[in-house]
Amino acid sequence: MSQSNRIAGGQIDRSRTFRFTFDGTAYTGHPGDTLASALLSNGVRLMGRSFKYHRPRGPLSAGSEEPNALVQLRSGARQEPNTRATVAELFDGLTATSQNAWPSLRFDAMAINDRLNTFFTAGFYYKTFMWPASFWEKVYEPIIRRAAGLGALTREEDPDEYDKGFLHCDLLVIGAGPAGLSAALTAGRAGARVILADEDFRMGGRLNAETHEVGGMAGADWAAASVAELATMPNVRLMARTTIVGAFDHGIYGAVERVSDHLAVPEKGKPRQTLWRIYSRRAILAGGATERPIAFENNDRPGIMLAGALRAYANRWGVAVGDRVAIFTNNDDGLRSATDLRAKGVDVVAVIDARADGPLLPGIRHVKGGEVVDAQGRLGLTSITVRDASGRTDNLRVTALGVSGGWNPNVNISSHHRSRPVWDEGIRSFIPGADVPAGQSAAGAAAGVLSTHGALATGQAQAIAALEGLGITAKAGSLPEAEDAPVSITPKWYVSGGKGRAWIDPQNDVTVKDVKLAHQENFTSVEHLKRYTTLGMATDQGKTGNVLGLAVMAGLTGRTIPETGTTIYRPPYTPVAMGTLAGRSRGKEFKPFRLTPSHKWAEEQGAVFVEVGMWLRAQWLPKPGESHWRESVDREVLAARKSVGICDVTTLGKIDIQGTDAGAFLDRVYCNTFSTLAVGKCRYGLMLREDGMVFDDGTTARMGEHEYVMTTTIANAVTVFRHLEYCRQVLWPDMDVQLISTTEAWAQFSVAGPNARKLLEKIVDQDISDAAFSYMGAGEITVGGLRARLFRISFSGELAYEIAVPTRYGDAMIRALVAAGQEFDAVVYGTEALGVMRVEKGHVAGNELNGQSSALNMGLGKMVSKKKDSIGMVLSQREGMNDPDGYRIVGVKPVDPAGKLTAGSHFLEIGAAAEIANDGGWLTSKVYSPHLGCDIALGYLKGGDQKIGKRMRAVNLLVKPATETEVEIVSPHFFDPEGERLRG
């Protein structure tokens, strides 16, 4: 077959030929074709199988409303299911396959469903898969999914890039048909910043599909000339291949630009699609209208399509869908298809006009007051059965039938903020209602104005009105001459009396019978109708079927359509790929990384890194010969405790707090007191939430009379800063306090161990003896003349300091510390060793700061000062939080040193059954202590402070069968409980 159905004309480039395949068969087409138009030009009408009954289907439309012609485009990792052939732009080498059919599109074994259709009516799932409940997930759902799926994913990683971006305009024009072009020209000429977006690759909307003249030239030529004029305006941005998918708050619209979908492979570095966030001051919805079918028996045969689509294929793409064509219409617009097709030399066999008084086209047989009652041809239309006004039936041999039940304005985007469309009796459809998104108006067919002149006029008028609201004066130019035919339509929703099924929503296989059944079972509200029958769901969101479905329901209930109402729409207008929503946030680039000042040095050492929030921290630094992480960690811990260890602690949050009220401010945000802290000293602080639970902890140093530096946990650095800003700006705006984060400004290293001072004395310029720089001291120092800060604080329980230099010197500092530490066998340790040492010392960290624990739970109850008010102080005194038998932090050791502990295990009394009533608490953090030679853990145990020395069981219920270890409850301070080392 070689484009046997191609006829003259159209906006395709016949000088170039594209080769493509569908289900393995090779075809040709031209630039400007869609996959659907190219297949139709090759005489291929059968393009898919339906969702439920696996009925053979061809395209119903020529646009994004397409319910039937869904294909898998491309292959391998780029395979994309559910692509509408009617909008897939043809490119050379395109491959497409049909979906939802096995073994082949022409013979689909699952079509047995069609024979069993009496079982698969509306509510089928709800009625059938009720029992047993456990079967739903394991048996029923997998079967249904296999049988009723649409396309398939290859599960290969998408090789393409997707981008995001932000655009701004005075006026966003949605749709570049006659109304949109008129609006854009008016606004563009007035100097306003305009974005004109259209989902099609060729702007012009219906002008490209019609034979109307505009301004004395072909409509498509006028559209092209208008686009050319707009392209010269620097204030206008033309965005073809761009679908406005949603209206969001404050004039923001989402837009998906298909940057590279028309190419086999995107250009290197170029995104396949871009998700734009458009900030508009005003928007005009000029999205046109979608034709709706009339339901009759077997109206889903391939070759039966919307009348407007039939002539679009002929006029725009030079394709005659069939050689013998009939038109079934209830309105004048349907007649245009007959006129246009005949002008193209197609044999128009008959016009079946549901109206008794419709106009007659000379030379064409008219069946006035007639109906199409059935259609034949399983894999492609061969004939239709027509009944005239007198009830006489006739069989007409045709290969294509165009059906027009009228046009539905594309109101979707007007109702994204829950505005309900209103019924317009003139066009027998819904138009945008009140309370549309702020700043939005509608023009042209989207507003229910269906003539070309009306589109041009309302586009211009709405642009002028929108800009007037912005203080921009736009002039009303003279409108080009265009057709202005009134709408003449007599309602005709479906053909009654047949025994077979008449399709309303072909994508979901919803028929007139299904709506009747829903009515019979009292699902008469439009919202119930939708859920019960699935009308309007899936990829097309009922663009062709919705109004028809509720009109049928209205007829059954004896209500008018406005009384019946309509469901409304939500974004996206057309399907959006997950990859587009993800943009560049995928894989390793899901979020940015934060690198520590010693990262480069640590990389050189072969450090193993761990993600701590966005930070990459050295987890441990293996030495040659170490094959297991525990070897490295044990070595690091032992060396630090024996001599000295160095660790990059830049990641802790640092907040500079200044102002004459800084001390008083800290007294309020911390539960303990800071205003009395001496200058040059630091103190451990505990921060509570309003409900009395612990929020965060860290040390805060007083660097000057009115200047403090707070450290926070890594995890809460941002949260604490935000909390402090809230306190400063909202709770106590009268306080003189200024805040700024300095986390990244300083590279900070912990130097811990008996030889910590000796090491630092080699590089610090000042005297840091115990007398000169005592425990919890803090101050400005210099390192080789460079400004630096020193804090004598310890997380490890050792004699320890934290030394900070401006971040640019952090790399040099780690190297200087390592060099100075050589004579002491200094070690650089990672987060694992840090964790071991803090558990050995009984310090709480993230696992204990779980948001459900109070200071008392952590053994820090005495820190909550009652001499002053602070956030959380009052509520921490609640009775329930002071239960003597409540959770207390304890240390845990296995009775048998070889016993293994698992974090998350629960405490149970010896002999108690593992049930919730006997639960004593849980192990929060577990490490292996090389000093004690066994696993140790911290945990929250009910009445734990009274149970020191007691034996219990630590039961891990997360594995089957549960494992358990007999443990001894001990003080959480495993190591140097008196703190003699850190004061050394």
């Binding site: 890039e161 981008d163 995001k164 971006g165 932000f166 655009l167 701004h168 910043r193 570095g269 170029k270 995104p271 871009t274 900030y279 560049r584 946030s585 979020k591 940015p592 990384f593 934060r594 690198l595 480069k600 966005m614 930070w615 830049t650 500079d656 200044q658 102002g659 004459t660 009220d661 009115h706 200047e707 306080m735 003189d736 306090v737 200024q738 700024i740 984060s741 300095t742 986390t743 990244e744 400004a745 300083w746 590279a747 590089i763 390192v783 080789g784 003349g785 460079l786 230099v805 401006p806 971040t807 640019r808 010197y809 952090g810 790399d811 040099a812 500092m813 190297r815 200087a816 060099a819």
Partner: protein, 187 residues
């Protein structure tokens, strides 16, 4: 000791990085000292008097003002970031504290940020993929806080083809990667 403390730039080199993607040139600035200046509560008038002597501009909201040696941009009510040449003002915080006394709280910010100068004939097509700032409508001297690929940044427009970004220093490599990606998609 001082020579042992050899600095690294935010992008990890001993010298500032420069890279070109298409028509975009990104230059890492390692020669800018930065400090925050926030008026103490009720002391704005004192601060305004003090800056006159210092030659420190305090531009209005959303603006950058250039000066010698100090330039500044607004970051929050009664709060600014002050730029100065690093070579002469490495101790910028101390210098400003000395000049402004107790009328303001001053905090060193030099190494909290990576400073990147972006240059291209027109930066808007690149930056519209990175930030929601309307660069085309913004005047020269416009300064704002914005988010680029999850990173809180400051953006200063010195011209249609001349923008400075301050991004969080620890994420400098992620930020430059995002800029490269946007430039590749543009050109």
């Amino acid at each position: 000791m001082a020579d042992m403390l050899r600095p690294l730039t935010a992008l990890g080199g001993h010298a500032p990085a420069e890279l070109a993607v298409g028509l975009l040139i990104v230059t890492e600035r390692f020669d800018v000292a930065l400090a925050s200046v926030a008026a103490r509560r009720g002391r704005m008038a004192d601060l305004a008097r003090a800056v006159v002597k210092t030659g420190l501009p305090l531009p209005e909201a959303g603006r950058h003002a250039a000066g010698t040696p100090y330039s500044a941009f607004w970051v929050a009510p009664e709060m600014w970031f002050v730029e100065a040449p690093f070579a002469t003002h490495e101790g910028i915080a101390g210098m400003l504290k000395g000049a402004l006394g107790d009328a303001a709280s001053v905090t060193e910010q030099t190494d909290a940020w990576v400073a990147l100068d972006l240059a291209a004939p027109d930066l808007a097509p690149i930056l519209e993929r990175l930030s929601n700032v309307d660069l085309r409508a913004a005047p020269d001297g416009f300064a704002t806080r914005t988010v680029i690929e999850h990173l809180g940044c400051y953006l200063i427009r010195h011209g249609a083809g001349n923008v400075r970004l301050y991004g969080p220093r620890s994420s400098a490599k992620s930020l430059i990667h995002a800029i490269e990606g946007a430039a590749t998609a543009t050109f």
